[in-house]
């Protein structure tokens, strides 16, 4: 049983890192309708979570970096609201595209982690 503060501490860092990433990516892609910020955190976070998992990290590291940091860095709720908003605004192709590339981007990140970890 992991001490709860490990998950919480990792999550606090992950959430702030997501906020910072969203801010930076948002500024860089300000003229685009596609939510690049959420896409970026979901792909990066999935890669890192898979990497620590495949490398066989201990339960403390998994709690801090995996469940905590990566779990908080990535998000499903913002992704869903983004997708629904695109659809409702009439950007239906972009909404479907967002739903697809978050999934395939995350899966590609996990695949890359498997390669790096030598699985």
């Amino acid at each position: 049983m992991n001490p709860a503060y490990l998950i919480g501490a990792g999550a606090a860092v992950g959430a702030v890192a997501r906020y910072a990433t969203n801010g930076y990516v948002g500024r860089v892609t300000a003229d685009r309708r596609f939510p690049y910020g959420t896409f970026t955190v979901n792909v990066l976070g999935s890669f890192v979570l898979a990497l620590v998992t495949f490398l066989g990290a201990g339960s403390d590291v998994l709690a801090l970096v995996g469940t905590g940091a990566c779990g908080s860095y990535t998000t499903f709720s913002s992704f869903s609201v983004d997708t629904v908003r695109l659809w409702e605004d009439g950007d239906r192709v972009l909404a479907v595209w967002n739903a697809a590339v978050n999934l395939f981007g995350a899966l590609a990140g996990i695949g890359l982690a498997a390669v790096v970890a030598g699985i």
Binding site: A11, A15, L49, C70, G71, S72, S77, S80, V81, V84
Partner: protein, 129 residues
């Protein structure tokens, strides 16, 4: 950046950090109560419902303070829900289970956002009347 702007940034970072700490902790509690795919699904769907309420409340009503939104939405709910564990669970499941998991999480998650929007619209009607 002026001192005031720096303090404002520090305030928002603090609110996001505290919210994130709590959100991930609750996600962990849910995963202990409902092991496996069901726990992640439950956290993601309920988080979508709640963020649907908050995001559309901000758009339609605007009673909730910006600071509250940073703590509750950017911090808590975005950390309570997760994409990385969801994606890893898809990979680690048998193919058909993985496909069903993706379809059901997406469908119910998007529907939950719409339900949340409905709640926000109701609130807007109450506040507006």
């Amino acid at each position: 950046m002026t001192t005031v702007e720096r303090l404002r940034t520090a305030e928002l970072v603090f609110l996001v950090a505290v919210g994130g700490f709590a959100g991930a902790s609750l996600r962990h509690v849910v995963s202990l109560a409902v092991p496996g795919l069901g726990g992640t699904f439950a956290a993601n769907v309920t988080g979508c419902l709640a963020l649907g309420v908050l995001a559309y409340e901000a758009e339609l009503v605007g009673v909730v303070a910006e600071e509250t939104y940073y703590a509750a939405a950017t911090g808590f709910l975005s950390s309570f829900t997760t994409y990385s564990t969801f994606a890893l669970e898809v990979v680690q499941s048998p193919t058909l289970v993985g496909v069903g998991y993706v379809v059901s999480t997406y469908a119910v998650g998007f529907a939950a956002v719409l339900v949340g929007r409905g709640v926000a619209r109701t609130l807007a009607g109450v506040v507006g009347s």
